[in-house]
């Protein structure tokens, strides 16, 4: 039985391989168009990466055969088994334990709608138990779309000649940040293409620029990074400008698929270099790291097991698991045919399952859902999947925020955004469903990083600070940026409800929160715990 499934998988992969030949040829053509500077940078870096991979001290935690076998072995699970795992996930919430690979595979193989209702309910319960009913809001900021890679699914890939290439200058960056700050944002994820012009020096300079840019009461208080894997010394430089989280998405944990969509010889083609990118970040003292998969490149069930094994490997090596997990789904990108042709595209129903399983699998981690998804699905995932962080008012074209009047800038974008409503409109929707919108960035400024943060999330007590800081930052938003409708619902309904929660659940913090709100009304900003 197992052997038969393996053969089927192999045939399927080969078929897929032939389909990708044309795309791959196009990608290789893109590779030969390097400038001298790019060529030198790329070849030097590629050689250093190859040396690193040769001497890699870590053991590969993705065993393709074992993961595939677990998924086969757990097909058609018994109802009782699934119910036991749901119960176990609830117990794990209070000690931060993760589910086992077998448990995750069983959940992924569950088809009974009634059991799925129980899983969704549990995901929501876990999220509320760990973080409270608050949603942390952030904005992605694309700083560059130049890239030496040629990934089959990405609009930024080198071979895409329809894209206008751009790297923000310091002045343009300041303009972008001011637009975001004027909307009320306090937290960014800065996104960089892999290119000599947007390498580590550029990352450090731009993070410093982001932090120093102010507009009235507003400022960016936490800047997270999504960029290529670095060498240790480069991570140290990035760490030293005071970043929040460093994200690297593996895209796919399936080695063969990884090689198919990332051309051989490209920087991103180095699977193990990327797989242990966050291990190196941890070694260099970056203790908040974020995992991610681009769902739709390979079987989503396999990818979930990959994420779990990655989280387990980090915990085993450093005693600190992932700060966040992201789960972007393959969506159409300009001049990237794979984005609509992949055999593994994830439908909405399965996407909700992925979000919920991640919450049960790793109860302590932040769960990030982006505006790639349409608003109705985002709301569904929020209620059923235990999402804890979302972006809003998102523009993903480089320089896109300063050009807000344009709905989409396909010629500058990496993919297509489906939820393009404004931050204020999005906040109103959150409020009308009873969520507390939060701009909290307190944790990493109060020393709650890495090993100091983990126990709070793992013991499900971090919500005490999450709610208190959520109230204080939402109050700032209401005073400085909100529309009359949002101010109304916020002041009349949301703030009183969550203040009541603090009074009942963390009574000794209640007076301090009240005092903080009073100080904010006296025009003092950035009150936090």
């Amino acid at each position: 039985m197992i052997r038969s499934v393996f053969i089927q998988t192999q045939i399927s992969n080969e078929h897929k391989h032939f389909e990708l030949v044309e795309t791959t040829l196009t990608l290789f053509l893109g590779m030969i168009m390097f400038t001298t500077k790019e060529k030198h940078w790329h070849s030097t870096r590629r050689a250093n990466i190859a040396t690193w991979e040769t001497h890699c001290k870590y053991v590969d935690f993705i065993d393709e055969a074992t993961l595939s076998e677990i998924l086969v072995r757990t097909k058609s699970p018994e109802t009782g088994k699934v119910q036991n795992i749901i119960a176990e996930a609830r117990e794990n919430t209070l000690c931060g334990k993760m589910l086992s690979p077998e448990d995750v595979a069983i959940l992924a193989n569950t088809t009974d709608p009634e059991l799925w209702e129980a899983i969704f309910e549990t995901a929501d319960w876990i999220k509320k138990t760990v973080y409270g009913n608050r949603i942390v809001l952030f904005a992605p900021l694309y700083l560059s779309n130049t890239c030496v890679n040629n990934c089959a699914y990405c609009g930024f890939r080198r071979g895409n000649r329809n894209l206008d290439r751009k790297i923000l200058t310091p002045e343009e960056l300041a303009e972008e940040v001011k637009v975001l700050v004027n909307q009320g944002h306090k937290r960014l994820i800065a996104v960089y293409g892999e290119h000599p012009d947007s390498a580590v020096d550029y990352i450090c300079q731009t993070v410093e620029k982001i932090y120093e840019t102010r507009q009235g009461f507003g400022e960016i208080r936490r800047c997270n990074i999504n960029a290529a894997p670095l060498f240790n010394k480069e991570y140290e430089a990035v760490r030293d400008v005071g970043i929040g989280t460093y994200q690297i998405f593996q895209e796919t944990y399936h080695p063969k698929t990884y090689q198919e969509v990332h051309p051989k010889g490209s920087l991103k083609g180095a699977y193990h270099w990327r797989l242990f990118g966050l291990h190196r970040a941890m070694e260099a003292g970056i203790d908040d790291v974020g995992l991610g998969v681009l769902f739709g490149l390979y079987d989503w069930r396999f990818e979930l097991l990959g994420l779990l094994h990655h989280a387990m490997a980090l915990e085993q090596a450093f005693g600190v698991g992932p700060h966040t997990i992201s789960y972007p789904r393959l969506v159409s990108a300009e001049n990237a045919p794979l984005t609509t042709q992949s055999k593994y595209l994830v439908n909405d129903e399965d996407f909700l399952k992925i979000v919920a399983i991640i919450r049960l699998m790793c109860p302590y981690t932040g769960s990030i859902l982006t505006a790639r998804e349409a608003f109705p699905l985002r709301l569904d995932a929020l209620i059923k999947g235990g999402v804890s962080q979302m972006d809003a008012g998102t523009r993903i074209g480089v320089g896109g925020y300063a050009e807000m009047e344009k709905e989409h800038l396909a010629h500058k974008e990496q993919f297509t955004v489906k939820d393009s409503q404004s931050l204020d409109t999005f906040i109103f929707s959150l409020c009308s469903h009873g969520f507390l919108p939060s701009f909290c960035t307190a944790g990493y400024r109060e020393g709650r990083t890495g090993a100091n943060f983990m126990p709070l999330a793992k013991q499900a007590t971090v919500k005490n600070y999450c709610i208190a800081n959520g109230i204080l930052t939402f109050k700032e938003y209401l005073m400085d940026y909100a529309s009359p409708d949002v101010r109304n619902i916020g002041e009349e309904t949301i703030l009183p409800a969550y203040l009541k929660w603090i009074k009942e659940n963390v009574p000794h913090l209640y007076a301090r929160v009240q005092e903080g709100l009073k100080r904010e009304e006296e025009s003092i900003r950035d009150v936090h715990f």
């Binding site: 250093n48 040396t51 690193w52 001497h55 410093e208 932090y211 208080r221 936490r222 060498f231 240790n232 010394k233 991570y235 140290e236 760490r239 030293d240 400008v241 005071g242 970043i243 929040g244 190196r280 070694e283 260099a284 003292g285 203790d287 960035t441 990493y444 400024r445 109060e446 020393g447 709650r448 990083t449 890495g450 090993a451 100091n452 943060f453 126990p455 709070l456 007590t461 005490n464 600070y465 963390v506 000794h508 913090l509 301090r512 715990f529």
Partner: protein, 100 residues
């Protein structure tokens, strides 16, 4: 990043300070821009909000519990030599890198 031996030493110190000053928690962090990067600590989080005082320009201390302003300042002065040593260690620490 600190070597394991220093981390353990700091953890012990934080534990001792918690007992000596009857604090719920005490921890040390590196100042990196807006980030206060946790180095070592001891005690139990009591969700009353943390107090903080910079020991040097690079190292800060956080605590929960009652500590008068003067006692906190005196303690910070006592910790200056240690903080300087930590700063030096953090500056000297080089993670292994194949690139060189």
């Amino acid at each position: 990043m600190l070597v394991f031996k220093t981390q353990q030493e700091l953890k012990m110190l934080c534990q001792t300070l918690c007992q000596e000053y009857n604090l719920q928690s005490f921890y040390l962090a590196q100042i990196i821009g807006k980030r206060r990067h946790f180095l070592a600590g001891s005690g139990v989080e009591c969700f009353s909000g943390v107090n903080r005082l910079n020991i040097t320009e690079g190292i800060t201390m956080f605590w929960q519990g009652r500590l008068t302003e003067i006692k906190a300042k005196l303690l910070a002065y006592q910790l200056v030599p240690l903080a300087r040593r930590i700063e030096k260690e953090l500056q000297c620490f080089v993670t292994p890198d194949i690139e060189d």
